[in-house]
Amino acid sequence: MNVYDFVQLTLFLLVLIILTPLLGRYMARVFLDENHVLKSVVNPVEKAIYRLISCKGEEMDWKKYTYSLLVFNFMGFLFLFFLQLCQSYLPLNPQKLPAPSWSLAFNTSISFVTNTNWQSYSGETTLSYLVQMAGLTVQNFLSAATGISVLLAVIRGLVRKTANNIGNFWIDATRSILYVLLPLSMLLAIILTGQGVVQTFHPFAKATTLMGSGQVIPLGPVSSQIAIKQLGTNGGGFFNANSAHPFENPTPFSNFLEMLAILLIPSALTFTYGRLIGSNRQGWTIFLVMFTLLIIGLAVSYYSEYKFSTIAGININMEGKETRFGLGNSVLWSVATTSASNGSVNAMMDSLTPLAGMVAMFNIMLGEVIFGGVGSGIYGMIMFIILTVFIAGLMVGRSPEFLGKKIEAFEVKMAILAILAPNLVILIFSAVSCLTTPGLSGLNNPGPHGLSEIIYCFSSAAGNNGSAFAGLNSNAPFYNILTGFGMLIGRFGVIIPVLAMAGNMAGKKITPFSGGTFRTDTWLFGLLLMAVIIIVGGLTFFPALSLGPVMEHLLLIK
């Protein structure tokens, strides 16, 4: 790690810390429906939308809330699925791209609906401008809004006393988009365009190189998609090279902004969460837990990357990294994008050293709770909090409670389900791939690295991350379908128990705080929460990780 890396890292973290309460406070005002900058301007649009969808704003219980959310997401899936299959008949397809295979369309639709943005395809050679804009970009907004809505519902469940209802899904989703995601994306898109990210409907440019040969330069409405793919923890690039592509990420400044955008909303939401449950300390505690885990990941990654350079006897390990950004930026991005369930990349994960690759993988395996996805990071974290509170609560000799709400069998069951669902997908689907011919035929690398590629693939799907260890050729029906189901289970297998728990929590009484209550806003709790997250992840994946990246690392240093 050199001085520049250090300065940039410090600057990055500092800006993140400063922006967290600023954006967080704004979002709290939005979701509490208080006055804020955009209210007077955008409010008529909000009202018009409610009129359009004839939403009267009635409160919903958890079942109705979940039902609305599922219907909303299913419609999004159908729309995106058929949009892709019909793209050759539709306008804004200057390259005359044919429809993708049904399995790819299935995979891509689920991928964008679930906020995963796993891409089995190359954007520029597979999907038309229309699909990218009206399909993918729209889903980038909607899936992020879904995540925020679930978080809001959970917060209501925690805060309300003996209530039935946990809010109105349509209002939550609409506000998330109108007041948070759209304005921020517009701002970022404009800045990025200024930095050189392309935004055009023109067909691909043809150029003649100095060598005299012809070259096709892909173009498209890129910035509008890049802004939300970063902000909404989506990660699906316009181009196959994602943010390593100069038209997606042209300058060091755009690189900085895009990295910041990965963590911005998830981080700010910790503050919003604190505000909404009425205790800033609770929010900051969660922030610090996430922040510390991020730092630990960064430390291991930096160490491993620079150490490997020394072992290999080269100056800097630049394989698979973008020379424009250098090693430091690549490591930071890889850790940020896997901590948050973003999945965009500016370097090839596949080329990271085994331990840095393991950090990326383990970040996802922990359940995408280190900042995590927009909304989903915190509600995932809340499930871990429930577990931690339960064990810790027993140890202080009181029926466990969180924010005054008793943690009982139902909450524990839902927390276990939500934590179990993605973990089982990773283990079982990886195992199936290891045993079957179609699973193994996608591999380009033998040895433990190949195993890492398979496990990373399903971790990415189940964690709704979307990044890939590139060595695996996953555009085949086997992987398209298996990862498709992995993403579905990883998303809704968590959302449904989370909402069920929120509904159950809303109905409970709130026990007032006393000296015998175990506090959940202290460093002690933070440490304990961190330990539970690492231990659950570690114990689940110890065998898999030791046969993959650990083995590779040991073989490498031998």
Binding site: I391, M395, V412, C434, L554, L555
Partner: protein, 698 residues
Amino acid sequence: MGSRQKKELKLLTGRVLLTSVKESFIKLTPANQIKNPVIFIVLIGAVVTTAVFFNNLFSAHFSGFILQITLWLWFTVLFANFSEAIAEGRGKAQAESLRKSKINTRAIRLNAGKEEEVWATELKKGDLVVCSAGSIIPSDGEVVEGISSVDESAITGESAPVIRESGGDRSAVTGGTKVISDRIVIRITAEQGKTFLDHMISLVEGASRQKTPNEIALTILLSGLTIIFLMAVVTLPAFFSYSLNSSELPKNMNLTLPVLISLLVCLIPTTIGGLLSAIGISGMDRLLQKNVIATSGRAVEAAGDVDVLLLDKTGTITLGNRMATDFIPANGVTIEEFADAAQLSSLTDETPEGRSIVVFAKEKFNLRGRNLNTADTVLIKFSAKTRISGIDIRLQDGKIKSFRKGAPDAIKKFIEDNNGFFPQNVKDTVTRLAMQGATPLVVTDNIKVLGVINLKDIVKGGIKSRFEQLRTMGIRTIMITGDNPLTAAAIAAEAGVDDFMAEAEPEDKLSRIRSEQLKGHLVGMIGDGTNDAPALAQADIGIAMNTGTQAAREAGNMVDLDSNPTKLIEVVETGKQLLMTRGALTTFSIANDVAKYFAIIPALALPLYASSGVPGPLSALNIMHLASPESAILSAVIFNALIIIALIPLALKGIRYKPLPASRVLVGNILIYGAGGLVAPFIGIKLIDILLNSLHLI
């Protein structure tokens, strides 16, 4: 109590141990084991390895390794059963001694005024029976006539007899106890088979034990963990087969069923899974040793959650009665003169307060009781109307001395009605004493005010520090008293309670409990009288005193056989200890897994990616330097089984409890059971490995 505990100790070391061993085998039925999902998985594993062992044997291949694995897996199941059996055993032994008092007796039933002899089993609710000295009370009931002393040692273990009388708060009698004096008439209040004794027997035997809410939640957590580990183990062969295909050496490898089962059993939380029910049973058992009977495990658990305690002042916080502590004569009256008057005016006062005045005068001023010629004296009994008592004495000179004693306001009225004068300095003294929480009584001679007697509530020694402990535990104490607010406030301050209810009527208790519960608090209270019954029923933890009325005993969810009001605090502590033991052992169990992974995974993966002569790279994870793959796996399995046995005493006793704030309790327990759980198996497995190899068992 002392002899009782000694008796239990003997029971534990003797017969209980033997029957528990027997019970561990009897409990091996699938129907029974399935109640505990974690141990059930171990049982299945044990059955499968047994099958593998015999299958190998039939193909003439004997494997000492598989045999040892198999045996230790069976031991794991048996150890878990043993822990449960031993916890139940203690209760069963107790139940047996209780059952002895349930011998069928003859009873004398009153039938339309006539006495007839019937079997106790024929008695019905509402029957009237007569019990005289020497007879066993046939069933639970309420004394409707008479007073007698009763030996309740069969139930309470306390040999000193207690008084039972009709009316009032000491009217309840329990079937199986023995009348030792006088004759009482009892109305039977319980159906046969549903008496207190029956109830108690079924409780201590654990027959009616149901899983408590926390236990259910914990079982779900443990099942979840079991599923995770099951999947981690089930998917392992797939990852191994991939790695095997990728490595040059070896071409095949024995990732056998017994090895996988060993890994699984080591990972799933068998320690807490095996000890869970023992912890629950022993929680009730520990209460029983404190002579408190809980109607359900749920109640014991809830006791740990109580954060508001309603305590009656009298008997709990103060010694019970106000006592004279000072005589303050009015201006111009000598102290001796006043003491004499105070004693005389109290001679007729049979209340403890009155007696304390006589005693105080005797001790402090050496005034002996004197001969009062009944012809010369007229006793003025206390009446609720005048609220004054006293004595009129005809002196030898024919004059009548008329001493009166009463509450200041009553005396003031009396004096002023008789055109007397209530001096200012006495008024000041009265106010001052009242402010201090004492009860001033004023003594007069005719219409002359002689002075003020200071009656004080004596706060029990050590109670203040007890309340401080409760406060650090996060429990708020509320004192309930019929005293006026001034008195109540002063005693509250002296005793260190957090809040008080003055001039409380029985209904006030109920409404206070309701309002605290509405605010989300869990309320515990202790009571004895019939008018306490609604409040006892409303409270989350209602402890009825055994001396109390039948109504109170039925309303509460615990009965304190010692009838000691401070017991509530111990009950709360037992409840907390119960939860803490569960949490600590869960943490310990999970923390253990780290070491087990480090023992087993390198052992399994040793040959992977090995080049000839050099073990595979994952041998670097063998940080314990265990001798061989087989001994590593076997050591982990043995450690896993032995730790259950090693922790049985802890499960039965409960972990150490100190009244400290939640965060400090947590830090302590995490250090002991979390960090300890991390380190202990590294040491344990290494030691077992050394032992196995030095004995050439592997």
